[in-house]
């Protein structure tokens, strides 16, 4: 029996080792490798509580293994164990020690809870209005006059104040490598703050079941050096030009087929703002930003993202599709 138990313990440990070394998470979405202050604070608390709990686990498992080996019934044995009622001393010990441990854990917990809740924007911080839609994210910078979707640009080192709005169902805004999540709740405005300590690309996820496309409601956070961020803002404010004949045709097609949703005419059927579509790095937040993928999306959005609200644009001729694609890709 004890050999089997040992084997099981080995298995668990090797699994742990495997998980920790062989297939460790990716820094773009790893809670254990945070790149922002909020994420660091959260990791601190995670590790702190983990090691505390590991200590408790070690005590339990030591007694456990000892008891199982020492007091197992041996062949031919027929002993009458003493029918103890308990031990007041022991019981007090294992009541008081956990209370003390939890008290120790409670102090930083309450501390961090209040620190992370303090999301008031200061002069230096960037304000972003985040809106979760089925199944895409809208980001608006009210102070900068910039609006984007699926991609959140933030300057490194600055506190980003997020105002989180919802319109349809619940979603949850989560950038694992930068910090924990806040729910998107229709009819309610939530706030949270984030920052990135180093430039890079971070994955964002929707973490609340929101329908068929929930698994694919991804977004990207780009943390840029402040100078680069300012350049990005300037670019976003510069209207894109229509240069070629194909783009002109594409513009016409866009006006005829897409404006209803993509220009906010019908608030119930709102699609992402596409005026700077060419700057994006993903199609629908998940596919690489190529013309081929854009066409794939246009022809059948639901095949790419189940439940997507966008209708199929499969009635265009090949030329029309090319023109529309070229037009969209030129929106830089």
């Amino acid at each position: 029996m004890s050999r089997q138990r040992l084997w099981r313990a080995l298995l668990v440990f090797s699994l742990a080792a495997l998980a920790l070394s062989g297939c460790s998470g990716d820094p773009s979405l790893n809670v254990l490798e945070p790149s922002g202050t909020a994420g660091e604070k959260q990791l601190n608390l995670i590790m702190w509580s983990f090691f505390l709990m590991l200590g408790v686990f070690a005590v339990v498992i030591t007694i456990f293994v000892y008891v199982l080996i020492r007091f197992r019934k041996r062949k031919g044995q027929d002993r009458m164990p003493e029918q103890t009622h308990g031990s007041t001393l022991l019981e007090i010990v294992w009541t008081v020690i956990p209370i003390v441990l939890l008290g120790i854990l409670a102090v930083p917990t309450v501390n961090y809870t209040f620190e992370l809740a303090d999301a008031k924007p200061d002069e230096d911080s960037i304000r972003v209005k985040v809106t979760g839609h089925q199944y895409w994210w809208e980001f608006e910078y009210p102070d900068l006059g910039v609006k984007t979707a699926q991609e959140l640009y933030i300057p490194v080192g600055k506190k980003v104040h997020l105002e989180i709005h919802g319109k349809d169902v619940l979603h949850s805004f989560w950038v694992p490598a930068l910090g924990g999540k806040t729910d998107v709740i229709p009819g309610r405005v939530n706030t949270m703050w984030l920052d990135a300590k180093k430039p890079g690309k971070y994955q964002g996820k929707c973490a609340e079941l929101c329908g068929a496309g929930h698994a694919l409601m991804d977004f990207v956070v780009y943390a840029k050096e402040p100078a680069e961020f300012d350049k990005w803002v300037a670019q976003m404010k510069q209207p894109a030009k229509v240069a070629t004949a194909a783009q002109k045709e594409g513009e016409q097609l866009f006006l005829q087929n897409c404006m209803g949703c993509h220009a906010g005419v019908n608030p119930k059927l709102q699609g992402p703002d596409l005026s700077k579509f060419g700057t994006r790095t993903t199609i629908a937040g998940i596919l690489p930003h190529t013309e081929e993928n854009l066409k794939k999306w246009l022809k059948n959005p639901e095949a790419v993202k189940p439940g997507a609200k966008m209708p199929k644009i499969d009635y265009l001729t090949q030329e029309e599709l090319d023109a529309l694609t070229e037009y969209l890709m030129s929106r830089k």
């Binding site: 008891v67 007091f71 009622h85 031990s87 009541t95 209370i99 809870t113 694992p176």
Partner: protein, 639 residues
């Protein structure tokens, strides 16, 4: 309506064929058939079997749903079950496992054992007991019919609004959820009420509260939790039904409603529910560990108080499911501290189990293996539980695979291990046969290894950024291997469960009857034959202390000392009304789900009202079993 009549006629035909054709004696033959006996029984031991078996059936169904989900996630970008289909699977898996597998299996064990452990001949309300089962069954059946008629619910077992509103879930799926759970929830509620009264009023002479076995105690606290938690679910489901079927605006924010109210109501029910399903498992573990260590339970009194305290605190912590809703740091901190406090009584229990084994003589039967395997597994779930209680850390864990790993460690490691331990331990008492120990051990090891292989890696999935309830995940960010391992583990659990099914099958074929006391037991149920006669105790026993049967055995007595002379025993008569009333609810539910067919819904409700009147006007005085019959039966057992 037409479908209904066709089904009714079909059912009559089947009955006629089954009982040998329709003629004058048709009704008599129906009434003497085995099926009729089981449909109308009010015997707690038979109801126990009904509960346990239907619970196990739904456990298989929920398990298959889980298997499908893990198959979808075996590699990234898989397209086996995507989008809504996957959401249906995850919703039905959660709902089935909690409401239709865990709850009835618990009620099964409670029904089988609690009356025996307190030395009672039956429960306080045998009729209500049967009604509770049939309502649960009708609700469960209704919920699962959604797969065939119109699509299963797909908004998660928590069914959060606004996703669960008409606008975002237009099909009948959520209606099945609402009405199915409402009906089975009423059954659960009255079942819990019945056990509270049973335990308070029907204890044998000398069975004081602090002499009750721990399984009875945990059943008692669980019943109290059911009584006070389920009404919150009733209200939540009622309001959602109003919103979906009758145009109300509780959760529609455009009309002033609030989606957060659903979350509050759901979790005011939902958190106690977690303790409802775990406490009886604690009770089973306490019985099993004490029996197979050949020792009295260490720190019995503190175990009782820890149970009560866990039950009490269970109502104070629901907001820890809502840390990311944005209720503010004060509320988050308060609920965090309350949640952490639960670790203290739970810790007391774990140490008491360890010290019950300390100095004992441990026999590793299958039941004991499950109890022993439960301890480290559950402690790991408890560890992550404390980690989850910290709001800032929870902002990272919430709705990620870390949470999935956590609650499977407590629900499978706790409840499922507990139910398996209970099944192996009490099978002889319930069915009169012993389950095969060799197969049982095979079951245990495959299930345990499969379980850890499945769920241990999921902690890392969560920490590496994988949200829960997703049908696919990114490749190239370190999630593939872990997901693969997790899926492989499921096969371990599947093989284990198949072994259990085979074990049940094999055991039914075995001739040998189990002895009354196969494990050298300590509590009253082992003092009577396996399976017990319908009146349980020919004479009510006199209880002299904790572990009463053990005390008598130690004193050199063969059985319990009777507390009354042998006399005529009053028994409740069987009744077909519980089935009929549940059928009424079932029809009503179906009618309301098939929108626009409210005539059927109202017909169902009329059936319910009529059966209620029938019950109210019925003067049923039961029947008596005379001492001569009891003596005859006793001789039969001895021979």
């Amino acid at each position: 309506m037409g479908t209904l009549i066709v089904l009714l006629v079909l059912a009559l035909f089947l009955t006629a064929i089954f009982t040998g054709g329709y003629n004058k004696d048709f009704l008599d033959r129906v009434k003497t058939s085995k099926v009729w006996d089981w449909l109308t029984t009010v015997d707690h031991k038979k109801i126990a079997i009904l509960y346990f078996m239907s619970g196990f059936f739904f456990f298989i169904v929920g398990g298959i749903e889980a298997l499908f989900m893990r198959l979808q996630l075996i590699v990234p970008h898989n397209d086996l079950f995507v989008g809504d289909t996957f959401n249906e699977l995850l919703t039905m898996h959660g709902t089935t496992m909690i409401f239709l597998a865990a709850m009835p299996m618990i009620f099964g064990l409670m029904n089988a054992i609690v009356p025996l452990q307190i030395g009672a001949r039956d429960v306080a309300f045998p009729f209500v007991n049967a009604l509770g089962f049939w309502l649960f069954f009708a609700g469960g059946l209704l919920l699962n019919l959604s797969w065939i008629f119109g699509g299963a619910p797909d908004a998660g077992w928590t069914s959060y609004t606004s996703l669960a509103l008409n606008e975002y879930s237009p099909g009948p799926g959520i209606d099945y959820y609402v009405l199915g759970l409402q009906i089975s929830g009423i059954g659960t509620l009255i079942g819990g009420l019945n056990f509270l009264v049973t335990i308070i009023n029907l204890r044998a002479p000398g069975m004081t509260y602090l002499r009750m076995p721990l399984f009875t105690w945990t059943s008692f606290v669980t019943s109290a939790l059911i009584l006070f938690a389920f009404p919150a679910l009733t209200v939540a489901l009622l309001l959602l039904m109003f919103d979906r079927l009758f145009g109300a605006n509780f959760f529609d924010y455009t009309m002033g409603g609030s989606t957060v109210i659903w979350q509050h109501l759901f979790w005011i029910f939902g958190h106690p529910e977690v303790y409802i399903v775990i406490l009886p498992a604690f009770g089973v573990m306490s019985e099993v560990i004490s029996t197979f260590s050949k020792k009295r339970l260490f720190g019995y009194t503190s175990m009782v108080f820890a149970t009560v305290l866990i039950g009490f605190l269970g109502f104070m912590v629901w907001v820890h499911h809502m840390f990311t809703v944005g209720l503010g740091p004060v509320s988050n901190s308060l609920f965090a501290v309350a949640t952490m406090a639960i670790a203290v009584p739970t810790g007391i229990k774990v140490f008491n189990w360890l010290f019950t084994m300390w100095g004992g003589e441990i026999r590793f039967t299958t039941a004991m293996l499950f109890a022993v395997g439960f301890i480290p597994t559950f402690v790991m779930g408890g560890m992550t539980g404390v980690m989850l209680a910290l709001p800032p850390a929870d902002y990272q864990y919430q709705d990620s695979y870390f949470v999935v790993a956590h609650f499977h460690y407590v629900l499978v490691g706790g409840t499922v291990f507990g139910m398996f331990a209970g099944a192996y331990y009490w099978w002889p008492k319930m069915f009169g046969k012993l389950l095969d120990e060799k197969l049982g051990k095979f079951h245990f090891w495959t299930f345990l290894i499969g379980f850890h292989l499945t769920f241990f890696p999921q902690h890392f999935l969560g920490l590496f950024g994988m949200p829960r309830r997703v049908f696919t995940y990114q490749s190239g960010v370190g999630l593939e291997t872990i997901n693969l391992i997790s899926t492989i583990g499921v096969f371990g659990m599947t093989i284990g469960t198949l072994a259990f099914i085979y074990n049940i099958y094999k055991t039914f074929k075995v001739e040998a009857q189990a002895p009354a006391d196969p494990w050298n037991g300590r509590t009253l149920e082992w003092a009577i034959p396996s399976p017990p006669p319908e009146y349980n105790f020919a004479q009510l026993p006199r209880v002299r202390g904790l572990d009463p049967f053990w005390l008598e055995k130690q004193a050199g007595n063969k059985g319990m000392t009777p507390a009354e002379p042998l006399g005529s025993i009053h028994m409740p008569s069987p009744s077909y009304l519980p089935v009929l009333m549940s059928l009424g609810f079932f029809i009503a539910g179906f009618g309301f789900i098939a929108r626009g067919n409210y005539a059927v819904g109202i017909l169902g409700l009329i059936v319910v009202v009529i059966t209620m009147f029938m019950r109210s006007f019925e003067q049923d005085h039961g029947y008596h079993i005379e001492p001569e019959e009891i003596e005859d039966a006793n001789k039969g057992v001895q021979a």
